[in-house]
């Protein structure tokens, strides 16, 4: 039973249809050119839907999907990255980077002590490089702590 490609093909068709529907809603201007802003996106959506259909009809052999535990680990990593993205500005570079780098390291090789050490090392090392060698304007610590 081949499911991966078929499910994906179905998702593609649904997304493509939503995309086409959304494209028909694009406002146009009375100054528009002969083609207008809708034609090209609609064309792309239709081609994508056809591709999705082909995937349903002629799927490839099933991919080797990871087990639930691994999927859980991937989800943790994904959430950690998103949280990191939001914390980078308010908390500065050093603390979130150390925590997330350690977490990712732990996910790849589950040993706590080396992961924490490498997280701290990466955080400080990269900060020094970016701030002083490449001159990017990174903030080290939360503004509150900096006074």
């Amino acid at each position: 039973m081949i499911t991966g490609d078929r499910i994906f093909g179905l998702v593609v068709i649904l997304v493509a249809l939503a995309y086409v529907a959304s494209a028909t809603q694009i406002q146009t201007s009375f100054l528009s050119d002969p083609v207008g802003p809708r034609a090209f996106p609609i064309l792309i959506g239709c081609v994508a839907a056809i591709c999705g259909l082909v995937m349903i009809l002629r799927p490839d052999p099933e991919a080797d999907w990871p087990g639930l535990r691994t999927l859980g680990r991937l989800a943790v990593a994904l959430v950690a990255l998103v949280v990191y993205a939001y914390l980078l500005k308010p908390l500065g570079f050093l603390i979130p980077t150390a925590v997330v780098a350690a977490l990712l390291g732990y996910q790849i090789r589950p040993r706590a002590a080396p992961a924490i050490l490498s997280g701290i090392g990466l955080s400080v090392g990269l900060f020094v490089i970016f701030r002083f060698a490449l001159g990017l304007g990174l903030v080290a610590l939360p503004r509150a702590l900096m006074g």
Partner: protein, 506 residues
Amino acid sequence: MDILSNLALGFSIALSPFTLMLAVVGAFVGTIIGALPGLGPSNGVAILIPLAFTMGLDATSSLVLLTSVYYGAMYGGRISSILLNIPGDEPALMTTLDGYPMAKQGRAGDALVISGVASFVGAFFATIGLMILAPMLARVAYFFGPAEYFALYLLAFCTLGGMASQNQAKAALAACLGLGIAMIGLDNNTGMPRFTYGNLHLMDGVDFLVAIVGLFAIAEVFFFIESHGRDSAVGVKLGKITIPVKDIIGSTGAMLRSTVIGFFAGVLPGAGASLGSFMAYMAQKAIDPDKASYGKGNPRGVAAPEAGNNAAAGGALVPMLTLGVPGSGTTAVLLALLMTLNITPGPTLFTDRPDVVWGLIASLLIANVVLLVMNVPMVKIFVKVLMVPAWILMPGVTMVSFVGIYSLTGSYFDLVLMIAFGALGYVLRKLDVPTVPVILGILLGNQMENALRRAMTLSDGDWTYLFSTPIAIGLWVAAIAGFVAPMFLRGVMKKPAIADADDLAD
């Protein structure tokens, strides 16, 4: 000869112990910046422009420093492509296809040396081409109107069939995905927002760097978590680093052909380095009898795109210097530099300011030689990256990606988008959908649509306008041939062999 005396003038301006030192520093810094995912040549040059002024450098010294950074970054982009399967910048995209498989086989050093030599060949001959042909080639841009550009982009997408995985629909789907993402943002023709849903961050569309770093770097991290770093190049026993003379000689033809293709792609303002390396790779694969080995670590598959993209970088200087039209993001930064130095590129630059032009050409040649010489010892340093354990290396790459993308606009929106691309990249690669066409779609989508709509505006909606010039017709014929040929060959040759040959998604 005129050119030789001009070149002598250029070297008399650009060659001194001090500028040589600047070239070495610039080449080194550029290589590092180029190798970091998310930081490309544009960042490198942009970061160093203020530095050049702080140091009180004169115009020539600034040019030497910044062109070294420029070419250095073009060289550096290949390093993370080969070692980590993460393109350092967009022209290095194609180098992942054969470079990373070589690294997995323990031939990372060979791949770096071959691509280094290919970069040199591409850049060196492109500089010569710039020297001899620039005033003539400037006119090429005049022959490319909207209809011709549309046919050119179509050609790029039609040849995608030749690189697809077993399932051609997947390559087409990937291209549609990229094109669809490219549509997001303000429509240039009507000023109306498309697919932005009121979000100001989406008004200017999705930055391709966000997509590249997400689809490659972040997705790679997910793969490492899944496999605990097995089945990657990290930790593979490395062969001794020698100069792979045999492979280099075997790739000479590929390098020279790709140089020509890349150079012309660079000369066309609408094409640029990414299209140059893509076309070079596809052309090389098309004429090579040993198609099956592409995507599996064929040295010629490393040489072709690298020669192509470096030649395109040189070619892109032609329209920038002679017309003031930057052919790529990086030449746009160099243009900004020239304008800061109060030099306005244009048709009279070659006659008005020969000192600037020939000084620039001389500094390009200097930067190239410095880079080639530096490359052999640097390869030894860079392959050591693979000895860093994955649980340190991959978090490091992630953090570098975050900072690189954060430095683009300073907004968390792009970071979240990058993570979303990472998740998408993971799913796509699991399903054997190639990710290269996605990037190509994002890079070229808007230009392709704009070309079509400009053409239709000029012709009042008459479709025959698209085939109205010999150049346009030629490109259409090539595009149709490129689309049909793989299907035809598939029928003629034995099926399994071709299926293997086209298996590029791993």
